[in-house]
Symmetry: C2
Subunit: 301 residues, 2 copies
């Protein structure tokens, strides 16, 4: 699982900082999460292949999370894309994009599918045989969702030595990996656990931005491998965080702790602070495994 | 008169090139012309004061000319702007911006005024005592205007030596600069031309992008000081230019020649070419005074 932060600063694009966008590569699926202005340039700079982007998740309709989307959709057209593109985001996003395409007398030469969200409960919005994506309802100034990306638990791993000891034919291997016991020619049954090892544990990633401190999300993200949680402010601006429905670094760490996350990644920093190092220091007073997100940084888990 | 090119490449923003946007500083008025994605970052990089931008002109509703507008409008709000902002652009632009503000539950704390254009004839869209701005109807795939910025002819310049010779009181100086003759105490009249020099000639700037080769614009831009004319292609792609309603470098030069412009600035280059130097060479076969626009370049006239 690889997370590439294209941008993780709040509010406006600036000379050296970018608004929110990130790419998650999980189980050979690539997901683009949020798409602030300048995302397509950040994708180029970080050498993400445009052709691998088929699913884009938009948390909410504040500009620093989606003003780059219409440009990316247009660029896909200019690059002669033919593969379907799926957009998951708040109700209204389709109208915004369609209006701009219509008024510019443009269209996409590829299938453009909008999956508009309006539920206040967590729901599955993407699923294939490898990955499932669920919404994480967040509390912000507009309708907002985080997203939980979960690998499905994989096949059990074949214990080659054991399988060969029993002289089992290769045509049964897939059944064994799927968890089946095997009946030998003499009628005896070999239990699956004697032929396989445990599968690689399923990875998971929760993206939570933007949101005020909100314990309601804990059951959804419980035991998540990696939690990205916004930390717009430090505790010194706690009141401002409450007022604008954002979180502090300490609050992000509290959510990580209570959710029993393995790893916390911070981001969505207000540009009022001189250094983001202080966010890490503050979060580490509560939770040990803190990574600082930053534009252009990649993390492998 | 100072022209700063923020971006002058066609189609999509890329790692080192930006879509169309430029700033014209004429007679102490600042005008932003077009606003492709990333314009607000280009403004910062080129140290243009956001507070000086009060009038934005959008040529047409193709993304590479306006996808940065909604972000800039939002950023002005976040910067607590209070001064009115005027947007001049094709009908529909108001709906695009207002829809995005509404769906993000946002508003501007400053006056935001849209001047929507739909005329097919040239018209005056801005005028104060120093500058007038007219549309230049262009031919492109959607409704498109260029813009002609003209200084008004200024005051005559006082001939201090002559004025002092006649012992004229300073309280008459403004009248003299305004072109009035003066009656001395002995009743004799001194003609204005004996007290003043000619005013500084009025500068003018024509922005023409995007457009196919179109001689209909010649009467509007006749004798312009500086003509920015798109040159998306070279003559080798003449057919493509015709098909997509763009111009070649040679065609841009022909327009400059026939309009009796003093100076031609090229831009809106397709990124298919390895070097933009070829655009200059091609244009110079027709017209001598050719400047290559490029991102981050400023020209003083």
């Amino acid at each position: 699982m690889k997370l590439t932060i294209l941008g993780c600063y709040a509010a406006t694009p600036r000379t050296f900082t970018n608004p929110t966008s990130q790419v998650l590569d999980i189980n050979n699926r690539l997901f683009l999460i949020d798409c602030g202005e300048g995302t397509q340039v950040q994708l180029r700079k970080n050498k993400v292949k445009f052709s691998r982007i088929n699913h884009i998740f938009i948390s909410h309709l504040h500009g620093d999370h989606f003003f780059g989307l219409v440009g990316l959709i247009s660029t896909f057209s200019l690059l002669n894309r033919t593969t379907d593109l799926h957009i998951y985001g708040p109700k209204g996003i389709k109208e915004i994009i369609k209006l701009q395409l219509r008024l510019s007398n443009s269209w996409t030469n590829y299938g453009l599918y909008f999956h508009e969200l309006e539920s206040l409960e967590s729901e599955i919005i993407f699923e294939d045989h490898k990955v499932v994506v669920k919404t994480i309802p967040l509390k912000h100034r507009v309708y907002t969702n985080g997203f939980l990306f979960q690998e499905k638990i994989g096949e059990r791993k074949l214990n080659i030595e054991a399988v060969q000891n029993y002289a089992i034919d290769t045509c049964y291997y897939q059944n064994i990996k799927n968890g089946r016991d095997i009946t030998l020619e003499d009628g005896s049954v070999v239990l699956n656990e004697d032929l396989t090892f445990e599968p690689i544990p399923a990875l998971s990633y929760a993206f939570c931005s933007d949101t005020v401190y909100n314990e309601d999300i804990l059951p959804i993200i419980s035991n998540v491998e990696v939690l990205y949680h916004e930390s717009t402010f430090l505790q010194s601006e706690e009141n401002l965080a409450k007022k604008t429905l954002h979180s502090t670094a300490k609050e992000a760490a509290l959510i990580a702790l209570k959710a029993n996350a393995k790893q916390l990644v911070l981001g969505h920093y207000s540009t009022r602070y001189e250094s983001i190092e202080m966010f890490k220091q503050e979060a580490e007073t509560v939770f040990p495994n803190v990574l600082l997100g930053d534009d252009g940084k990649s993390f492998e888990f």
